[in-house]
Amino acid sequence: MMNLVLIVGGLLVLTIIIALVRVSSLISVARKERTKIDKSSNKVNGLLMLIFLIVSGVVTIWYSISTFDDYNLPIASEHGLETDRLFWITMVITGFIFVLTNILLFYFSFRYQYNEDRRAYFFPDNNKLEIIWTVVPAIVLTLLVIVGISTWNDITGKAPKDSEVIEIMGFQFAWVTRYPGKDNKLGNYNYRLIDAENLFGLDFSDRNAHDDFMPRELHLPKGKPVLLKIRARDVIHSVFAPHFRLKMDAVPGMPTQFWFVPIKTTEEMRVETGNDEFNYEIACTELCGKGHFTMRLLVIVHELEDYEKWKATQQPWLAKNPDYISKIPEEMRELAMINAGISLDEK
């Protein structure tokens, strides 16, 4: 790296010196009219076009191949396999056009440099050519649209009925998660009930809320559809789980959702990446304020049975915060305590 810096720095100094020399010669130059075309610099520029094409092409290809694994995150979800396939289809098709047009652009620039003895070819239009390059891109793009829309529809379709429903909420500056508990139903919430403890604004007059629990990480079962219910309570955030190819905005006042199927446990991913410390993460990708870059949530994918075991060990939020029982309507308190697994004697 340091070498690179030195080389680049050296080049910079060199060009600046050239520029300075030029500047000084400018100042002394006689200012007379001249419209002659400067052939030597025309040649140099033409040649540089070609050199740029070749050098940048080689560097790009070399870098793309040698660092392939660095920028291609391993895929951890079912639909991720689909989107990555689409990505590479698009890459091949557009890559071909990209390479072709750039080659033509720079090669023509080099090849057809000014020559006094030659006239340019007067070629104002050609219907056939123009129709070809309207129709061909149109067809290629149509194909891409068809594949793209069908992939998109698959991903955004209805979540399967047996999905594991989990809520994730963003606020300045953290993510919190909520699981439905034994009844498999997330309880109601109301943003006016939010306080320093009750981050979600859970409404305990809804019995479904009594057994909801909130772990510090996002735990997911491998191989089972997961439906993330996404919301925010202050400004817009965006849930981004890069390995799962998952992103969805979290909007205050407008809950959103995203369903997906994790296909690799954290352990499996550690083996695959050869990194014992590997962890799935969720980041925020919608600017939300000063701490935007710190909104990290740890994600842990378990085998299904481990996941169920883990769930069974989780204590409902209400059980951990018994103070809130007093805020529940009198007639529901007993029920709430049963639901939350608090022994009635404690009271």
Binding site: I18, E33, T94, P137, I236, G289
Partner: protein, 624 residues
């Protein structure tokens, strides 16, 4: 048509008269001369480009060298440098936001359209000035006021706006959410209001001028592509900026008068806000209804400018003139129906996502046609690499590269992963930022002789080009990789995440490249200002170009042509016509003077044109 001509002809005497008595103030400051106003826009644009560029260096330092101490910046930034010599994260966001706003609106909208629409429209269509010199002057001064307000906002206690250039509420609506959403945001909104007024005044003028003040013979099918591009750009602006006014007004109401257009169910700063029923997504729809046309407002003039320059310096007609106009129109129209491709993952209805994806792919077709036409124009040309030509070729390369990545982002399923990552940053910097910037610079090199009567130095131009071209690619191309790896944009630092804790080297490299690119711009600045005063004197038509501006005196007075305005007899792209003596035939040369190169249908039209030695009073019957 004819009537308008006569009016203007009368006006000239009047104005010639005025010129003599003009004081410094009316000549250089409150000028109504389109050429002076253009220069005012240009200089202000250059100032803002410098500001925006320097800001990018500041946050690039943070990204490339997060460990480095920025203590040495304390004299400038004061309290925004933390105890430990780091950039305050909020200040980082302020820099990013201001950089984006400045570049998109002040540099590439006002600086680009303002300069070249003003300068070229009257000169290339053969008019004495804009339809309304007074409105034109107002347009600049509204922009100036806007600039002043925005500039002052940089220095206030709570900092300038920090919510990103797209100012999504609730972040931008709630001062509790981020300090820049206090006074800084208010000033941003006021500045943008002035800015919009300026754009509207300018746009109305460009459109009326192009429709009404074309010289005799200058039919729409003989307009240079620059003018077509400016024309469509102005229409886009006129139709889309009012929607931004609406968005901004509602935001102002939400901020100051307790309404809930964009706010609902919010708990912030330890209290629940009373607002309910609003939708932050509504703002995004309104914003991008302007925002997407805006990116074309930025790029179309640049495409127009390069069409002209590439044709002139290839010594060839632009290939597919009609197709170029057709694609410009198609792009302009379609640009109004693709806005929601910025919103695929906001939770909007997935079906809508499919529709906008389809529309987005359709707009790729006319863009592709333009690229193929540029390349065909180079084919078998006789290419002269003036600095302007180099920058134009650079633009085409950027347009290709950025267009290709647009296909990825336009595909909703791929956007899931790529949205709001550095892939997007790479995409829009290349296709919009750098391409439009190169178009603007190309325009300056090309029309500098007409603006200042002197030439810029070509060699310095070459150095400027190669440093910028290689520099821009080295800054933005690597961002694709970082983006594919998932690095989110608007991040102050990446060290909090295992997934993003790599690429420190590449980020350092990008920062170094950014410094090099920026330093190349100082070569340009030197060249520009030096040449204004001491550059080589220009000949009448330095690039042997066909368009009308080169028939005006080298230093045109207010009114542009001392005598009569030249009449136009042909399209602007008769370069290297077979049989012709020279490799160019300007638009004001009648077919009757070029029998050796006329095509059969052109020989016939000589009779129709009739008035070779035109007389100002005669009505031109060939006009529609």
């Amino acid at each position: 048509m004819a009537i308008a001509d006569i009016h203007v002809a009368e006006d000239t005497h009047h104005e010639d008269h005025l010129d003599h008595e003009q004081s410094f103030v009316t000549k250089y400051i409150f000028s109504q001369d389109h050429k002076t106003i253009a220069k005012q826009f240009l200089i202000t644009g250059i100032f803002w480009a410098l500001m925006g560029g320097l800001m990018s260096l500041v946050f690039r330092l943070q990204l490339g060298f997060p460990e480095a101490t920025l203590e040495w910046l304390r004299p400038i930034f004061g309290g925004w440098i933390t105890e430990s010599g780091k950039l305050e994260p909020e200040f980082y966001l302020a820099m990013v936001t201001m950089h984006g706003t400045i570049m998109v609106f002040f540099v590439l909208t006002a600086g680009l359209s303002g300069t070249f629409s003003n300068f070229l429209i009257p000169l290339q269509i053969g008019a004495r000035d804009m339809a309304s010199g007074f409105m034109n002057m107002l347009s600049y001064w509204f922009f100036f006021v806007s600039s002043v307000v925005m500039f002052i906002s940089l220095f206030i206690e709570t900092g300038p706006a920090m919510g990103g250039w797209v100012i999504y509420p609730p972040l931008s609506a709630l001062p509790q959410a981020i300090s820049g959403s206090g006074l800084g945001m208010t000033m941003w909104l006021i500045a943008m209001m002035f800015f919009i007024v300026s754009t509207m005044l300018g746009g109305i003028n460009y459109i009326t001028t192009i429709i009404n003040l074309r010289t005799r013979g200058m039919s729409f099918t003989r307009l240079p592509l620059t003018i077509w591009a400016f024309f469509l750009t102005a229409i886009l602006g006129l139709l889309s900026f009012p929607v931004l006014v609406a968005a901004v007004l509602l935001l102002i109401f939400d901020r100051s008068f307790g309404t809930s257009f964009y706010l609902s169910d919010i708990y912030i700063g330890g209290e629940a806000l009373p607002n309910s029923g609003g939708s932050p997504i509504l703002f995004q729809h309104l914003f991008w209804f302007l925002g997407h046309p805006e990116v074309y407002i930025v790029i179309l003039p640049a495409l127009g400018i390069t069409s002209e320059i590439i044709s002139t310096n290839s010594r060839k007609p632009i290939f597919g003139y009609k197709a170029m106009i057709g694609s410009l129109m198609a792009i302009a129209i379609l640009s109004f129906v693709v806005w929601a491709h910025h919103m695929f993952i906001t939770g909007m209805n997935p079906f809508l996502g499919s529709v906008f994806m389809l529309l987005t792919f359709i707009i790729a077709v006319p863009s592709a046609i333009k690229v193929f036409n540029y390349i065909t124009t180079l084919w078998r040309g006789n290419i002269i690499f003036t600095p302007a030509m180099l920058f134009s070729i650079g633009l085409v390369s950027f347009f290709i590269t950025g267009g290709v990545t647009g296909i990825f982002l336009g595909s909703a399923a791929l956007d899931i992963q790529l949205h709001d990552t550095y892939f997007v940053v790479a995409h829009f910097h290349i296709v919009m930022g750098s391409a439009a910037f190169f178009g603007m610079v190309a325009g300056v090199y090309h029309w500098f002789p007409k603006m200042f009567g002197r030439m810029m130095d070509a060699r310095l131009g070459y150095i400027h080009f190669w440093m910028s071209f290689v520099g821009v690619y080295s800054v933005f191309f690597p961002m694709h990789y970082i983006g594919i790896a998932g690095f989110p944009r608007r991040y102050y630092s990446f060290t909090n995440f295992d997934a993003f804790n790599s690429y420190a080297d590449l980020n350092a490299l990008i920062t170094i490249a950014a410094f090099i690119t920026m330093s190349a711009q100082f070569i340009f600045l030197f060249n520009f200002f030096y040449s204004i005063f001491r550059g080589r004197k220009t000949p009448q038509n330095p690039w042997n170009s066909n368009t009308l501006e080169w028939t005006a005196p080298i230093n045109p007075e207010h009114g542009n042509w001392p005598g009569e305005i030249p009449t136009v007899y042909r399209w602007p792209y008769d370069y290297s016509k077979p049989g012709a003596k020279e490799d160019f035939i300007p638009q004001n040369i009648p077919f009757s003077e070029t029998p050796e190169s006329n095509f059969p249908n052109e020989t016939e039209s000589i009779k129709l044109q009739g008035i070779d030695k035109g007389d100002a009073i005669i009505v031109d019957e060939t006009e529609e």
